[in-house]
Amino acid sequence: MSAPGSAASGVPHLDVDPFDMMFFADPYPTHELLREAGPVVYLDKWKVYGVARYAEVHAVLNDPATFCSSRGVGLSDFKKETPWRPPSLILEADPPAHTRTRAVLSKVLSPTVMKQVRDRFAAAAEERVDALIEKRSFDAIADLAEAYPLSIFPDALGLKPEGREHLIPYASVVFNAFGPPNQLRQEAIERSMPHQAYVAEQCQRENLAPGGFGACIHAQVDEGAITAAEAPLLVRSLLSAGLDTTVNGIGAALYCLARFPDQWQRLRSDLSLARGAFEEAVRFESPVQTFFRTTTREVELSGARIGEGEKVLMFLAAANRDPRRWDSPDSYDITRRTSGHVGFGSGIHMCVGQLVARLEGEVMLTALARRVAKIEITGEPKRRFNNTLRGLDSLPVTITPA
């Protein structure tokens, strides 16, 4: 029996750290290295397997019985370490437990519900664009990518007005905590107590306004779908994954459209491309870069033998630019057929809030393209560093009204 990932298993060993600041600054050369080294690689630095090609990432995502989530979707193995917070009932769960909780959130965030909130989300996008046209020069991250979701999502959830400043910092902790025990993760968790306390409080039934997503989750207790103890943790999932992700998604779309003016003009000439422009930004930038799975048994994956209890790191971003799957993967093309990209994952754990994200992205880009002729980057964009999320900290822009 050879050691995990030893040369005998035929899996190439790579000496790269995909959670290092240098890597975050420019991940693309390393993504290529990871893809081209083989279908499955071994990363000595963190003693994990890695998959960076589309086919293998898709295969791992779609075999949850072999590549499980209940042992954590970060580096930490919940079988060996105590999780930093009580595990998620949906993200960090396997069937059959996952099937039940997933059904509840799918119902709360269904296409039917999106139809009901669409007009409200679109009106808020128009209002935001009005304000920005007044300003002309602003930070596209703080004043738009953050301000817009903050103006609708906490209300849609039914959160109290007080304390919302904890939301983005809490999400930042959650996504840093999927990473290895590096400085980003350690510092995030050390400073997380006030954010955790806020979130725990907000998840309680009495703190959620009637009619909101949060109240709808608690109403499922009355239907017998979940227990009263489970409901707050499911609300927590929306607080963890429903805001910062869309901030980075919208930020990615703005960064793309500002960098590629031909695509911006294309969108302006056909506003029905707004939804596709957002979706292509999710593929192109992959705001959620990585997730882990843990093997439940010895498995052969594309010729590589992986033992039981091994962590497998999926490079969603690299898969989304795998030339084996995508034509001209490094170009941002708002008319691309993006169906099948793994920016929202795939399979039973595919982002349950994807419809909210698309709706926010679509209505914001529509409002912007209708009113704005030109977006110019007027200063050096600054990157925000997180073990899982990729996005900017600031993007100074000046817009020209149409």
Binding site: S110, P111, T112, M114, K115, R337, G340, S346, Q354, L355
Partner: protein
């Protein structure tokens, strides 16, 4: 391999060859067919691969599952008794010749 036909709202039709075990949605997107968006990639989450099944074929399809039924309530174009999500229609040899009508919009 079985082939299926998609009819666009303007009456034009596209005949698509399927490959073993794929869904009608997968066959459509693999051929770059307009009119099927499939935003979620076939995970029964988004209701953007909506089709109307030609009446003569309706009874030959497997029943609508609960999750598909809930999603069909959220389709952009009107839900009709013959509405289905094409990602949930696996093309077996018995479905050779299946005719699916495309709605005027998916979002």
């Amino acid at each position: 391999m079985p082939a299926i036909t998609f009819i666009h709202p303007d009456g034009k039709s596209d005949r698509v060859e399927t490959s073993g075990g794929e869904s009608a949605m997968q066959a459509a997107t693999r051929h770059g067919l307009d009119g099927i968006l499939a935003e979620c990639g076939g995970n029964a989450m988004c209701a953007t691969c909506h089709v109307y099944v030609d009446e003569s074929w309706l009874a030959r399809l497997p029943a609508v599952a609960d999750d598909e039924d809930a999603l069909l309530d959220g389709t952009a174009a009107e839900r009709l008794p013959n509405s289905r999500l094409s990602c949930q229609i696996n093309i077996t040899p018995e479905l050779d010749g299946l005719v699916l009508l495309l709605p005027d919009r998916q979002v």
